[in-house]
């Protein structure tokens, strides 16, 4: 009964961790996952993914999901 949470790039450094495994009890959405892991509000530009798919912050999550938080991806200017 757990959710794996991963953090990348500058967000990983800011939070000082790359992974958390949280109890999914009481966890309904991506926003709940964030609150269970971090003491700060969700930064404005942070992106989320659930099971490798981009997700909204109010998207539901389930036991066994992998949730990731990361800054905007940087592919380069055209």
């Amino acid at each position: 009964m757990s959710i794996t949470v991963r953090f990348f790039a500058s967000l990983r450094e800011r939070l000082g961790k790359e992974q958390d495994i949280i109890d999914c009890k009481g966890i309904v959405t991506v926003a709940d996952v964030w609150q269970a892991c971090a003491r700060i509000p969700v930064p404005d530009n942070v992106l989320a993914a659930v099971n490798m798919e981009y997700a909204r912050i109010d998207q539901p999550v389930q036991d066994g999901d992998e949730v990731a938080f990361f800054p905007p991806v940087t592919g380069g200017a055209r």
Binding site: S10, A49, M52, F70, P71, T74, G75
Partner: protein, 143 residues
């Protein structure tokens, strides 16, 4: 269709020759080969860049590269496609990404190649950290 995430430096031109050699069934099936190679510059946003570390979310990167090459193949008649993307630490002048599209005609080859590189840049989860004379910095906004 072949997608590879590479930890080590690669030579895009040798990769193209090798791929064609290892896929003899391709021979005669294409009249156009469109190639995009992205290479690390030694300058960005007014600073000299000594190195760049590319962080990625491996399984998500693989999934999205497979999806967007699949989209390109469904939109244009492509004979085959090869994508190689580096991660880890890169030095200036090292190739970052290679996109190759083989097709019967050039319009499809160019269009599919352009689609893949443009979509990759906005959808694949990669993050750049540059090493400049002032230390390491995350590239959070492109100019």
């Amino acid at each position: 269709m072949n997608i590879r995430l590479a930890a080590d430096a690669f030579d895009p031109w040798q990769e193209i020759v090798r791929y064609q050699t290892e896929h003899p069934a391709l021979a005669g099936k294409f009249g156009a080969t469109a190639v995009f190679v992205g290479t690390l510059r030694d300058f960005n946003q007014g600073e000299a860049v000594q190195a760049m570390t590319l962080e990625h979310y491996a399984p998500m990167t693989q999934k999205h590269l497979e999806r967007l090459t699949g989209e390109a193949a469904s939109r244009w008649p492509i004979a085959d496609m090869l994508v190689i993307h580096r991660y880890g630490e890169l030095r200036p002048n090292e190739p970052i990404v290679l996109v190759v599209c083989w097709a019967a005609h050039r319009d499809s080859a160019f269009a599919a190649c352009r689609y893949v590189i443009d979509e990759l840049k906005t959808r694949a989860p990669f993050w750049k950290q540059e090493l400049t004379g002032k230390g390491r910095r995350w590239v959070e906004q492109e100019k």
